[in-house]
Symmetry: C2
Subunit: 223 residues, 2 copies
């Protein structure tokens, strides 16, 4: 019964991808908490977690490659495996962006604390919800849920624009917190890019379920 | 002679990817020139070019998917097709980053010209050379040439760090050019990320040629 065996392997691939997704979600959460609590230990945690993400990334890729090499998956199974490869790459980049946030936070900790007009907690929540929902769409093979992720992207784009212009104002009015405000701008941008990756994941789920590439039909933020 | 036909299709896939690479390289060049010449027309060109990139991106993906679906490529051919899918995605993101540069440049044009300590021309040259060399490595199936791309990445990381600290200094000393300097920081960062994508492409070439994933063995910049 080779097909049954094949479907077990597909399930195993999905499980491995879910483990990878959990690591990425953890990275975002820890990076946001590190910023909110000004905690260098959490920054270090994000760094350690990054090694686990890189390992998981390689394992998912290898498993997908093995499946493509040894079986001859057709149509929807093939699309699923290709989607896994792409989702895996977006999850890895979410880890990269989380590392960027942790690095900017460490930078911030060298300076006096400043009250910055950037809602890192709120943006982190929207970004996390987008990743969670995209993964849920993957689990349920639900293109409608995936589409909802892509609309949430507008919200975080707006938050990023508001933060950026507020932080530019801070720099102009109180130049002695320039570095803090600049780090705020970069952290806000990283959260916005994490949301972009969640949108990419949602687009890949839609490609898998419907067999159509929606990536460039909806206008994803590319900044 | 289905295998001969198959290899013709692989060649066609490589040609399509090269066309995609040309569009991405053009985007970087035009975005850098737009900045250097303060030319809104070139910014618009980057925007128009982006539509062509998105179309080419979809075409390469579909062609790769067709090949995987209809043939049963083994070992090195399979690795080649998977590499093409990944390289295609990095090229598309190079286009995204070029759009970001064009957008920041348009932003800059609304303000008085300021003399900023960021070598956009020089960074653009290094980034373009990295893309060109990575594509050359792909054409020649040359892992050593691909490795040389990954060492060039250090150079542009250094340039980005120098630019960032110089531009922070400018903001602190002359707050009335804050927005210009901030745009300089973001453009410098985009060029550094373009170089990261070129490094990713080089890593994919090595994966194709050697069958080993080097991505996380060398420490790519992830900021």
């Amino acid at each position: 019964m080779p097909r049954i065996h094949f479907h077990q392997q597909l399930d195993a691939l999905k499980d491995k991808l879910l483990a990878m997704a959990a690591l990425s979600q953890q990275a975002v959460q820890a990076a946001v908490d590190a910023y909110l609590q000004r905690d260098p230990g959490l920054c270090q945690y994000v760094r350690d977690n990054e090694a686990a993400i890189n390992l998981a990334h390689r394992e998912v890729d290898e498993m997908a490659y093995e499946l493509l090499a040894k079986e001859q998956p057709m149509a929807i199974d093939l699309r699923f495996i290709l989607s896994v490869i792409k989702i895996n790459s977006d999850l890895e980049r979410i880890g990269d962006q989380s590392m960027g946030i942790a690095r900017r936070t460490l930078d911030l900790l060298e300076y006096e604390s400043a009250d910055l007009p950037v809602d890192v907690g709120g943006m982190g929540e929207v970004a996390s919800r987008m990743i969670r929902t995209a993964i849920q769409a993957l689990l349920d093979a639900d293109a409608l849920v995936a589409e909802s992720v892509m609309t949430m992207d507008d919200e975080i784009d707006r938050m990023n624009r508001v933060a950026r212009s507020g932080l530019i104002g801070v720099i102009q009015e109180t130049p002695d917190v320039t570095i803090q405000a600049l780090n705020g701008i970069l952290i806000s941008r990283s959260l916005e890019r994490i949301a972009d990756h969640a949108s990419n994941i949602a687009a890949d789920v839609i490609f898998w379920v419907r067999g159509a590439d929606v990536r460039h039909q909806l206008s994803l933020a590319v900044d």
